[in-house]
Symmetry: C2
Subunit: 434 residues, 2 copies
């Protein structure tokens, strides 16, 4: 027997209904914010992802070669492709560009509960502006995209990597960059530190600072900062001159968020480090607490990729929403997804009524009524059972007797009530009762 590949999923009609519904809701939120949809290929040249994330990413990718012997990879995420697209073809478009996308991504790891090798993301990029209102709008869009799906309980956390970065330097007592990127405060050292912070591995953070010779007192000050959940706390500690401006912008963003309708469910969280080398400035995450340990639904922020990809430097920010987890959270919260079912099921009782039954079916379909018709010639009993299994609202029964009177029997599948109805009156009658 031929099986589904490990770590992947088939989606049944019921599941697809839900997925399309959430896709539609999110799409309309993005559009209402002036975002426009783009699409990039399912695979990219491998170097796109190594340029962004380093060669270690190769172990997490599905890669293969094309006929020109170029290394390709199934995309593990959608930001690098979107920025590649921008650099290749959209740089001359009027700024800002507000682009969104919905696509599948691939992760080459051991399948675990709730983690799949093929998964879907909704996301966007805002290119060409970094004003406080631009960032506030972006964060608000992430928030409303999720909220509008019907999620009851989500939590937005906002952090700031540049501010956090300076606190790392202070804790180390660094006045200038170290000689090597591997030394405390160097890029490699910091990447490791940010990864520990992102994993909320406080013990690891403390040990790494200790190994670098930081004093207990300074380390405690740092871990305090990680726990800050308000701007007031942040404003009390000092920042370098050039970062005071960043702090001001941060404050303005928080203030504007409430104008954008994000009034509750949000807080500062300085411990957001996103563990990714190309993020900078504002970073944010949205959780669904109902999901437990795998609760993060969305992550995003400001980043630098355009220049790395050969484009002219310009501010960029964006986020990605885990589409599968959003659905999971909605299901756990018992969200009632709308269901579209067959509205009318037509049963030609005898072969000689098939022609007229088809005519009726086509007329109903033409006016947008979801109509099905028995294609198995199985008689009334079995057909009604099928109509029931498919949750059809009404059945139209057409036997030779009815046909002689230019009529059909209309049956309410829920109550079992039946009425004789002229064929010419079917549509007007159905429009009234559907």
């Amino acid at each position: 027997m031929l099986n589904l590949p490990r770590g992947t999923r088939d989606f049944t009609p019921e599941e697809m209904e839900k997925r399309r519904h959430v896709q539609k809701t999110m799409t309309s939120t993005f559009k209402s914010f002036g975002y426009e949809e783009i699409q990039t290929p399912t695979f990219e040249n491998l170097e796109l992802f190594t340029a962004k994330s380093g060669v270690t990413i190769i172990n997490e990718l599905y890669s293969f070669k094309d006929k020109g012997n170029r290394e390709l990879a199934l995309r593990p995420e959608l930001t690098a492709p979107a920025i590649r697209f921008y650099v290749e073809k959209l740089q001359m478009e009027p700024k800002p560009l507000k682009l969104f996308y919905f696509g599948n991504c691939f992760r080459y790891d051991r399948p675990q509960k709730g983690r799949y090798r093929e998964f879907w993301q909704f996301g966007c990029e805002l290119i060409g502006t970094s004003t406080s209102e631009a960032l506030a709008e972006l964060i608000a869009l992430a928030y409303h995209s999720l909220k509008k799906t019907g999620l009851l309980n989500i939590k937005l956390h906002i952090g700031h990597l540049s501010l956090l970065d300076q606190k790392v330097d202070e804790t180390l007592g660094l006045k200038k960059p170290p000689l090597s990127e591997f030394h405390p405060g160097g890029q490699v050292w910091k990447n490791e530190m940010f990864r520990l912070i992102d994993k909320e591995d406080l013990g690891g953070v403390i040990n790494k600072f200790k190994a670098a010779g930081a004093t207990e007192e300074r380390i405690t000050m740092f871990t305090d900062v990680l726990n800050y959940s308000s701007l007031d706390e942040l404003k009390k500690i000092g920042f370098k001159q050039e970062l005071e401006q960043e702090l001001e912008r941060f404050e303005k963003i928080i203030m504007l968020l409430s104008e954008f309708g994000v009034v509750k469910d949000n807080s500062i969280k300085m411990g957001i480090a996103r563990g990714l080398d190309y993020y900078k400035g504002i970073v944010f995450e949205i959780d669904a607490p109902v999901l437990g340990s795998e609760k993060q639904l969305c992550g995003g922020g400001e980043y630098n990729l355009v220049k790395l990809f050969g484009g002219k430097d310009t501010p960029t920010a964006g986020f990605a929403i885990g589409f599968d987890r959003t659905l999971l959270a909605l299901e756990i919260e018992k969200y009632e997804f709308p269901v579209t079912k067959i509205q009318v099921y037509i049963i030609p009782v005898k072969e000689e009524t098939i022609k007229e039954s088809i005519k009726i079916a086509q007329n109903l379909r033409k006016v947008g009524i979801l109509t099905d018709i028995d294609l198995l010639r199985r008689g009334i009993g079995k057909s009604l059972k099928y109509a029931n299994a498919k949750s059809a609202k009404y059945a139209i029964i057409l036997g030779p007797d009815e046909l002689e009177k230019d009529s059909v029997t209309l049956r309410n599948m829920k109550t079992g009530d039946q009425e004789l109805l002229k064929i010419k009156d079917i549509i007007s009658r159905l429009k009234k009762i559907l």
Copy 2:
């Protein structure tokens, strides 16, 4: 610079608008016929496709290995995955099953004009019935799916493989199957012959028959049959007893097609051979003549795959629509795609009017008005230019003077007419004029 992989495409917002529009139209046609959407993974175990199409297909596939060292392949088509899904999980569902899907497929060949390595298909499978009304409905669905997108000129051709197959045997003078599948009339020989027929390579067909010892007279009779375009011609020539019934069903299908609203644009074409080993019975194709040599938009018919994939035998039929070609044909026919553009572009003239501008934007977005707002603080002139570039219908200008009067300036971007409007009246005014 990092490039788009060869043979693939990025889609701009304008292109995505068109694609989503056609996707939506097709989806609603499929649903109105009682079909339900499913989705399968982007890659499958390689053996799924070799089981269906033989090992030669490997040369046309993107394949790679997973961590368990299993060979995987990006799907080249969607029927095998759908039937695999059916066999694995849907066999117990009430029959018939009417499943449709929309997905990307991958073909590992040299890119040519209009042929891409990643392309999209709309398709469906009808599982569990082979009555004439079932087949007629399927063919009608293919026809209407394309017609409803707005295509003006499409041509439906219907053929019958079993009838054609018997005529091949007759031309060879075969009374029983040959000893080897490589001998004239054997499976391998026939596959080659059907491929020639499908390519409309009449010279190749004649030569192959000649090499097999068929008489000139019989060959001429056969090539006549390939040119038949009506049932009447077909009914004049004889068929084996067991095929007479097939011919009757064929006739009934053609008759019912007109009940399903397929009244013109269709004809018999006995030369359809689909070149695929698992097709049988009814086959059909829909062309868009406007596309020239690459004119086929849709191909389908009855086939046998369920048993091959380990399931319990049941009638199956389906078709696939080339989504990219459909779009191309619409564009060549100059179909006017609906465009959704920003409806209102809000310009906060000074920093102090940003807060109120955001409030207005959010209120408009809440009632579904596609609203954008200047995020670059670039002043009225440049903002109006941007609004123009984005084809915004209206601009709302909010300066300190207007704010003092709880008003905004509403500007019609087409005419340039401006009016002062109370903030509280914006929505009711816009609802009137949008």
